[in-house]
Symmetry: C2
Subunit: 467 residues, 2 copies
């Protein structure tokens, strides 16, 4: 499969250049001001060419609850999230399609799905998501969300003895499930990877982390987990381990160059040094962090320490969309209020780099994609600069990042395969997807939550909130 | 002009209700579960009906610089903004159209334009904006942005003697200009209002404020100004007046129930009490406040004090879009990180109320519009709940506010007149507008700023930043 993009605008260190790009065998074969057409000719006039971004942390099936959960902090929000009726694999398929589609429409060509499993249908859950991602053509890294402790154990208990209720699956069963999933679905050369993704220190035993490390080493898998999203988790780590969560994960050997850590809001300076040494990546999810009142991750500190950063939307029940450009915008502007010296503020071009290169590097793919250079994988996006939201002609990257693009992606390719054309998915029927989604559920404003009712008194007490 | 919307979803205190709405003579004539069709029949199935929002603070002509200005705090950002080549009235017309269009596409039916005037063509500037707003059919409140002091005077000087350079216009000339504008363009019954809008304490003399108060009283005009957007302005007020800016404006008599104050980030508790007493409205512009690193306005404190709040996009060079739903989302989620008790966090329904009722009240129109009740002006918006960004069927208001709606507005009416149909403006040609905009300017990444070069050393010194 060959094609040549003619006369697209590409950012270069000095500004912009109008270039031609030849793509062959899934890779960027040549970039130059004028190139002969090889294969299909694509008119890039009035369009901006960028590498595809990575939606570096999401939970696709949360799509079914987006818009629904009220203003609660993570621990209570999770309580409501978990009591939702179990989904069917068909729904997993649809929500993975929807997540992929919103990611593609906002410049993402890779999605990292920390996938919530249907109890009793775990393998079918992964199969449904894999089916969706293959069908729509997005690159996907899927980490089945595994844990071996109960939700109640994830809230600090203020020094009381920790309950150790039984959990539905043993640690061994969870790891055995992972082996099955890896054997069936891990196919990096086809754009589908499985990663090990224990939920986080709040719900996982040391043995589960260790088992994941072992799998990661044996099968060369990425590692992914939630880390220190809330102050409650910071306290929990001290209760559970007598040290910080970062120190504990480091001792376990979980942190390395293929480890991506979602959130990372409540780290100490010493934790930051540890992360920097290990080469682990921080996945920033600013919208979710605001929505759940989790806090502001100290991104500028991470950059100064040399830590790689990626950007995620987080699951659609805490965001409540999957628009990567929105997450990139917030990453670019949110931190200005935490840093008095504007010389440290992110430039739009830097935000773009984080979303593309940072995302790829966090998946150990920094040498394969994330930049517009010859030999890189052709994960490419063309933005239509004649859309109102990208007008007038000013700084296209500035406007893409700081504006509010809508219908901005005109074409997108994953490994040279066209997945968006004329602003529409090429391999699935978007109208049909919307019809299928419309068939589920019913509009409602309130949903009573038994879990929140049960957890709230304890939570408020522990967090020092008025009864 | 009569029409009847059938079977739209409307939020009610208990959840949602499917209703019919009759509109007659620009007003909501009846709302009930089943009503006979009067005039045109509008199918509201799978659509959400809400009152139109108010884009309560913007500067339409900043559109021409959106995406362009780098990451700077307000004072330096303004330096670059002001050195832009003067626009032509034709450009004012186009940027007003674009501002109105993005506002309409995101649920706004009223725009409050704090309009930057072309030097020497002040009346023509207002005429061009009025032309655009009448043409597209949006309700507009236009406040010519007037000031009588120079930009350099707007930065605190740390106790040095304040320069008093001459300014292009005298205070009297500015006020005389306002009389002309009021006489020519103030036509509330036709949906176009002029308001008095001195830029802010940083650029305006007391005499200018007093003259504006006089005009406001004589012609029953709204009052509008920037207030305490930055810490630098907080310091400037002390230097200039020996008291806070709120205290000073209160003494001048500028604050009343028709006064709207953009930003209000750096107020003392005593300032908040004063605002509450006067009945003035705070216009919250969260995106601009993040972009410029200005800070987070203490919105929850304002609500507790009983101060009315409205939501604005601010000018497109500090946002850099005019999507009201984005500003509403940030208003809903940003403050969660400043308030430990989630019981004070805004619900999506409350964010909607602020954007609609709060906006109307801030313009002294709270009795005429901003709610879905009989007798109110038919400033209405129908959102298409079959768009991917508003699926699946969960809580439509939750998803509209917390999600990332795209192409969500299917129909909109201003005073019963249809301005958006099938997601497109009815009274202007959107494609033509985009073509016209594309004809201006050229893509560029960097723009050297003489003003910033001149101001930066002083600014950094005053703000205690390293040289």
């Amino acid at each position: 499969m060959q094609f040549t993009i003619h006369q697209a605008l590409m950012p270069i260190p000095e500004g912009y250049q109008t270039i031609d790009v030849q793509v062959s065998a899934g890779k960027i074969a040549a970039i130059a001001p004028q190139l002969p057409t090889q294969g299909d000719a694509i008119d890039g006039t009035n369009q901006l060419l960028l590498p595809g971004f990575v939606n570096a942390h999401t939970h696709s099936s949360e799509f079914w609850q987006r818009g629904l959960i009220g203003p609660y902090p993570l621990e209570l929000w999770l309580g409501e999230l978990h009591e939702f009726s179990p989904l069917e694999p068909e729904q997993i398929y649809l929500s993975a399609l929807a997540t992929a589609l919103e990611t593609l429409h906002s410049g993402g060509t890779t999605v990292v799905d920390h996938l919530v499993l249907i109890p009793g249908q775990e393998v079918a859950t992964v199969a449904a998501a894999v089916h969706a991602y293959r069908e729509i053509g997005i690159r996907a890294v899927i980490g089945p969300l595994i844990y071996d402790q109960t939700l109640a154990q994830g809230i600090p208990d203020g020094g009381a003895n920790r309950k150790s209720e039984g959990f539905a699956y043993t640690t061994t069963e969870m790891l055995s499930l992972m082996e099955t999933v890896i054997a069936q679905f891990h196919a990096p050369e086809q754009g589908i990877e499985i990663m090990v993704a224990p939920t986080g220190i709040q719900l996982c035993s040391d043995d589960l982390f260790k088992g994941c490390i072992d799998l990661s080493d044996r099968f060369a898998l990425c590692r992914h987990t939630h880390l220190l999203e809330t102050q409650a988790q910071q306290r929990l780590a001290q209760e559970k381990y007598g040290c910080t969560a970062v120190e504990h994960l480091h001792r376990l050997g979980f942190l390395n160059q293929r480890t991506a850590l979602a959130h990372c809001i409540w780290l100490t300076d010493s934790d930051i040094s540890i992360l920097a040494q290990t080469g682990a990546t921080v996945v920033h999810n600013p919208l979710s962090n605001l929505r759940l009142g989790s806090g502001i991750a100290p991104i500028f500190k991470y950059r100064q320490a040399g830590i790689n950063i990626a950007i995620g939307c987080d699951g659609a029940a805490s965001n409540d969309g999957q628009d990567l450009l929105e997450a990139i915008k917030l990453s670019a502007i949110l931190h200005n209020i935490t840093e008095p010296d504007y010389r440290h503020w992110l430039k739009p071009s830097e935000a773009i780099e984080i979303a593309a290169q940072g995302g790829a590097q966090g998946l150990g793919q920094g040498q394969q994609r994330g930049r517009l250079t010859e030999g890189m994988s052709a994960d490419l996006v063309l933005y239509d600069l004649t859309q109102l939201s990208l007008l007038p002609k000013t700084n296209p990257v500035g406007l893409l990042v700081l504006g509010r693009p809508c219908q901005a992606v005109r074409m997108a390719w994953v490994q040279g395969s066209c997945v968006i054309d004329q602003g529409q998915a090429t391999q699935i029927d978007e109208t049909r997807l919307r019809q299928d989604l419309l068939a589920y559920g019913n509009w409602l404003a309130h949903r009573p939550s038994t879990n929140i009712a049960q957890m709230e008194t304890h939570y408020r007490q522990i967090m020092g909130l008025e009864p």
